[in-house]
């Protein structure tokens, strides 16, 4: 039983943790990396917008309306003389903020509900899941309109409204993960040691469910971004003068044939940001999938 037998032991392969291994795999995925870099660059551009463009998003120069892209206005100006490039950059702030902060609401509601349903099982699970089914059946946009009508128009209310309809998927996912991890032997071992529900959920079930949850959240972000853009497009998203790519598109829609760039650039921005998050999400899913190791 001496230690010598273990000299031939642990592999000569490099020591890496599970997260380290996932990171290595993620790095190899060029599309995911491209997506990630794009998101980072865009975020930096959005944060440092004042340093990049001299124009503010709301400054109106009525002498220079609907101008084509030029040296002075890189992407031209809109119907009120506002610089399109500046509005694009500041609009990025809105999109990113909505995309990311709604996830806080989503996790805040969906995670506990899913976790309780998954761990408790039985009647509790039944009741909670029927509630989830019910919420699932609601048309999202209508519910958002309803919530905004009740709560008012600011950006925080928007986070809340979008978050309130998006938590259902996470709840189901978390519940599914809980149930599958619950059946694994190491959970039985923890119970055999005297571990009770909350301990097991916190220390064993949740950490082992993180992978799919992270991936799901990453995919949720572009959905939230698109929802905000869509709502702003129809006028019930963020209020002016807060810039939003969606409202830029709706503003530019009227002059689409003469000043196509009004619609094109914000639409392109939305598309690129969504694709970036999607590639990143795909990459994360592959990197975090334990079955794909070796």
């Amino acid at each position: 039983m001496a230690i010598s037998e273990n000299a031939a032991n642990v592999s000569v392969r490099p020591h890496h943790t599970l997260w380290g291994d996932a990171w290595v795999r993620l790095r190899r995925n060029k599309l995911a990396m491209a997506g990630g870099i794009f998101i980072i660059l865009l975020s930096l551009a959005a944060i440092f917008a004042p340093l990049i463009t001299p124009y503010s998003f709301s400054h109106q120069d009525l002498t220079a309306i609907l101008q084509n892209p030029s040296a002075k206005h890189w992407l031209g100006t809109d119907g009120l003389g506002r610089d399109v490039f500046a509005r694009l950059l500041y609009g990025a702030r809105t999109s990113l903020a909505v995309g990311i902060f709604t996830q806080i609401i989503v996790l805040g509601i969906g995670l506990p509900i899913g976790a309780i349903a998954g761990y408790a099982g039985g009647t509790v699970d039944n009741v909670l899941m029927r509630f989830v089914d019910f919420m699932y059946g609601f048309p999202d946009i209508l519910l958002i309109i309803l919530i905004k009508a009740i709560l008012g128009g600011g950006i925080y209310q928007l986070f809340f409204a979008i978050g309130l309809v998006a938590w259902v998927d996470i709840a189901r996912l978390v519940r599914g993960q809980m149930m599958s991890v619950k059946s694994r032997d190491f959970v039985a071992a923890a119970r055999a040691m005297g571990g009770m529900g909350p301990y097991i959920t916190e220390r064993h079930l949740l950490p082992n469910s993180l992978g799919p949850i992270i991936v799901s959240v990453t995919f949720n972000v572009p959905r939230a971004i698109f929802t905000e853009a869509a709502l702003s497009f129809i006028g019930i998203g963020v209020r002016p003068p807060t810039p939003s790519w969606g409202s830029m598109i709706s503003d530019g829609y009227a002059v689409i044939f003469s000043s196509w760039y009004q619609v094109f650039f914000p639409a392109l921005a939305i598309a690129l940001l969504m694709i970036a998050f999607t590639f990143l999400g795909d990459g994360l899913r592959d990197a975090l999938d334990p079955k794909m190791r070796h």
Partner: protein, 329 residues
């Protein structure tokens, strides 16, 4: 004979099979464990053998109350564990531990070796700081692992080493009883012997009792003091180890022993194997009378009508078979 650590009386576990659209109606029971009784003594190893579907794993989990039995008693320290709530069981669980079959599934992949071994200590709030670290190092050493491995993750260990971690974890609280659920089946042959020796040594050292569940009869013979043979949720035979292997009474035990090939071509050339006909019946629909009779090569007319009882055949040897008059109800 040493004192009794665990007494199992008429333990039964039925899983209801339901059908129905809105209101689930019970149509049948899967009788996974159907009236099992035996005792385990201090420091002894009781081997539990049987094939898949015989209920041995369910039985083990029922004893530890990981699955709650449908009926029967599990007496430990003068209390019936079946009557205790989950909360009341927590202090009891320090003394009853478990080692699992699958070395890959029984360890949380996100815990380091140290976390895994120390978990029982943390749950029971025993020892902190230096005392905790010392105890973990001591346990690692006991199972033959080097101290620097404490920081590693399960995926960096081999199957045999993970099983050692599982054993170290089971020992952390100095239990009186460990249920070993097929602890070596998933390991390579050359590693199995290492783990068997380890379990043996630890038992000598700490006087812990084992319930050793396995389908591998050769290994059971090596480790056990007494052996229980199960089939379709019922006990077929209980005996001292040597008695069982030298003189198996129940036809099922005889077939089971005969089915094990001996690693020696000269012996195998001359040996006749008892080949049982048919498959193990479904526990939802067990045969009438003796559950083994449809496959039994010594069955006679009464076997399909009368259910034999577990009865004494002399010298601590018990058998459930109508061939032995003592088994008639």
């Amino acid at each position: 004979m040493a004192e009794i650590v665990i007494e199992v009386n008429n333990l039964a576990k039925y899983f209801p099979v339901t059908q129905g659209l809105f209101h689930q109606k019970k149509i049948a029971d899967v009788k996974a464990v159907d009236g099992v009784s035996f005792t385990i003594h201090k420091g002894e190893t009781l081997g539990l053998v049987g094939e898949s579907g015989c209920g041995k794993t369910t039985l083990g989990k029922c004893i530890l109350q990981l699955i709650r039995p449908t009926s029967g008693e599990v007496i430990f320290e003068s209390r019936d564990l079946c009557e205790l709530s989950d909360k009341e069981l927590v202090p009891v669980r320090e003394k009853l531990q478990i080692i699992f079959q699958d070395p890959y599934d029984s360890l949380d992949p996100r815990f380091t070796a140290m976390d895994i071994i120390g978990e029982p200590l943390r749950i029971h709030k025993i020892s902190k700081g230096k005392e905790y670290n010392d105890r973990v190092s001591e346990l690692l050493n006991l199972v033959g692992l080097a101290p620097y491995m404490a920081e590693r993750y399960p995926h960096e260990f081999s199957g045999g080493q993970r099983q050692r971690l599982g054993i170290a974890r089971a020992l952390a609280l100095q239990p009186q009883f460990i249920m070993c659920d097929e602890p070596i089946s998933a390991l390579d042959v050359s590693i199995q012997a290492q783990i068997i020796n380890l379990l043996d040594d630890l038992q000598q050292k700490f006087g812990v009792a084992y319930l050793f569940i396995s389908h591998d009869l050769s290994v059971v013979r090596h480790l056990s003091d007494r052996v229980v043979v199960m089939y379709l949720g019922k006990v077929m035979e209980i005996s001292n180890r040597d008695e069982l292997y030298k003189n198996p009474l129940h036809p099922y035990t005889q077939a089971l022993l005969s089915a094990v090939p001996i690693p020696d071509p000269a012996v195998e050339m001359k040996r006749e194997v008892i080949v049982l006909q048919g498959e193990v019946p479904s526990p939802m629909n067990p045969p009438t009378g003796c559950v083994f009779h449809p496959r039994c090569y010594r069955a006679f007319a009464d076997c399909s009508k009368i259910v034999p009882l577990l009865a004494d055949a002399g010298g601590g040897h018990q058998v459930t078979c109508l061939l032995y008059k003592t088994s008639w109800p």
